[in-house]
């Protein structure tokens, strides 16, 4: 073995890990940083640093390996370290830690789509497991639309998965969101749907918005709605933004933030 891809909380640790695995000193190795770690906050957003350590003694590759087509055969070698794209480069003269921005960008591009798919599959799997535990039998289908990933949970006992006012469904959604951010490279938005709940809910919210707006117009008094999650408030804001007779804004702190519909000055 003449190379090793190491993963550790910090770049330093990863390098040491790699050197130890290869049993060589720092002078004999060329080190390439694939990803710098992120410390994150309270364990959120934390990302391990990934470095590729290569023994320079064993490395007698020709210079032009760098220009070879990207479909390098050494892909399989790195498969275990899921998600790392394998754009190879021989930074032979690399003194120590070296990273070329060009390379990094390329790496990112290739890595992200593959990595995203893996992340989505992983989250879908997770939701299947949890939903199965909750409702007995459930399947999850993932559908990606740009930055949005919609997970459709199909189950006979959809009610259990949705919960009162969609509480359980929203909880599943926030967990899915956390996992998707942790494993995916691009920031994607997770939406979890069971049956046609979200569609039904949108219809209900639209009716609620209309009813509230007409009530506000008639009474000329502001109306305070029940607390609801951000994406549901957004739907109401959106519907009422076209209504020139009322104005909307939100008050209160999450998770008890609620929407206020007020009359505008435009009264006749």
């Amino acid at each position: 073995m003449d190379r090793y891809t190491a993963k550790a909380p910090t770049v330093e640790e990863a390098i040491n890990k790699g050197l130890r695995a290869l049993g060589i000193g720092k002078e004999e190795a060329s080190i390439e940083i694939i990803e710098e770690g992120k410390k994150g906050f309270l364990g959120i957003g934390q990302k391990d640093a990934i470095v590729r350590v290569r023994s320079r003694v064993a490395e007698k590759l020709p210079e032009d390996v760098f220009h070879e087509p990207e479909s390098e055969p050494n892909k399989d070698k790195e498969e275990p370290l899921a998600g790392e794209a394998s754009v190879d480069s021989t930074s032979q003269q690399a003194v120590e830690e070296e990273i070329t921005t060009e390379e990094a960008a390329e790496e990112e591009q290739k890595g992200s789509s593959k990595n995203d798919e893996q992340a989505i599959a992983y989250v879908a799997d997770y939701l299947t497991n949890v939903a199965t535990k909750l409702a007995g039998k459930a399947t999850v289908e993932a559908e990606r639309q740009h930055k949005q990933v919609i997970f459709h949970i199909q189950s006979e006992k959809a009610g259990v998965i949705i919960g009162k006012h969609g509480k359980v469904l929203n909880a599943l959604q926030s967990l899915a969101q956390v996992l998707l951010h942790r494993y995916g490279k691009t920031k994607m938005v997770a939406i979890v749907n069971a049956g046609d709940y979200r569609e039904r809910r949108e219809e209900i919210l639209r009716k609620l918005a209309e009813r509230t707006a007409s009530q506000v117009r008639q009474t000329n008094q502001p109306v305070f709605l029940e607390p609801m999650p951000a994406f549901e408030r957004k739907i109401i804001h959106f519907y009422l933004s076209e209504n020139e007779w009322v104005a909307t804004h939100s008050e209160g702190k999450e998770p008890h933030r609620y929407l206020v519909v007020e009359p505008t000055d435009k009264q006749i």
């Binding site: 906050f41 309270l42 364990g43």
Partner: protein, 80 residues
Amino acid sequence: MTDMKELILTIVHPLVSHPDEVALEVTESDEFYEYHLSVHPDDIGRVIGKKGRVAKAIRTIVYSVKVKGPKRVRLTIVDI
């Protein structure tokens, strides 16, 4: 009660980076089935989340499950 235990573990395992260090203890008090969840110190933040968002989501799901009898379930994340 194994159901509940399995559910909690299925939820928590993928969230942490040291899945083998997740421990769940069950005790029974007068009113509650108490589940004490302990994870690797590095993972505490992960199961709690920003402003307790993850912990809240976990609890919502766990508490939504119907339990036989008058006792309710309580999930505690053990902080060292």
